[in-house]
Symmetry: C2
Subunit: 169 residues, 2 copies
């Protein structure tokens, strides 16, 4: 088919043809992920958590969001299990809560890096302002498609298949 | 610092300390990417473009979105240069337009795969319904952090630095 884009994902097995099945919003992991973290304010708060912010004031100062927006998003992100509260206390002040990424939250790093790289490439023709590099060797870091066998995966070398349902114990 | 999360990105050079600079929305590539593709309807239309949809009717049928929503999103995604129109004609019918991913649109694949994998892992405890695999070897595919020297990059091995401005010609 000559119109096929280079990046099309090949449907295999029961998924072929695509018109034979649906991807309802509540079962699609992309749509569900968007429901969980798909606001700009949540993303910039997560960005700042990756950049090391933990105190409420730091999130307000570094995101440019309003105090109520930061408070609401921190609470939601904690409710979703992406951030967790921990106590901290500065000398002479009362104990307060700060926030850090959980494993669930930290695991979003490839999403943010992929968005950062796409934005750098396509939305800043004058060149990116920041560079993300590997601490060990100094080379630029990207979010790349790789398979568990370690191969770099070309965008036209992806198959999508339905997984067998697990047998009940 | 004992509170540091494992996934924190190390600020280096002029970016350290983080409190010394701001990441305004119009300069942050993550926020700008969100502005460009950050609606659920845009994401599911892009998902279906990667799954091989090209005709308006296919997008309506496969996304479950309303016809006006699909029409509006296709127009926006074409205006942003993520999709491009191409003519097609079925026997006995008038020529019409269909849509395919441009290079700019195709380049979002790591973002979608990263979201899919995160959703599979964290939002579907009963297990993912679909499996994305490498055509060549059949192994599951992920969006992984890799540096240009080819190293797998651990989440705590990332440095962020400001890039020198290019000298004017």
């Amino acid at each position: 088919m000559t119109d096929m884009t280079a990046a099309a994902i090949h449907m295999t097995g029961k998924l072929e043809p695509r018109s034979a099945w649906s991807a309802p919003g509540d079962r699609c992991p992309i749509a569900r992920t968007f429901d969980t973290v798909g606001t700009k304010s949540a993303l910039v708060i997560l960005r700042e958590a990756f950049y090391g912010a933990s105190r409420y004031e730091e999130f307000v100062e570094r995101t440019g969001l309003s105090e109520p927006a930061v408070a609401a998003r921190l609470r939601e992100l904690a409710d979703e299990g992406l951030l967790e509260k921990f106590p901290y206390q500065e000398a002479g002040q009362r104990a307060r809560s700060a926030y850090r990424l959980t494993e669930k939250g930290s695991d979003l790093l490839p999403v943010l890096v992929a968005m950062m790289r796409w934005g750098d490439r396509w939305l800043f023709p004058e060149g990116a302002r920041l560079e993300l590099t590997h601490t060990d060797c100094g080379s630029p870091v990207h979010a790349e498609l790789r398979c568990e066998a370690g191969h770099e995966v070309a965008p036209d070398a992806l198959d999508l298949a339905s997984r067998p349902r697990r047998a009940r114990a």
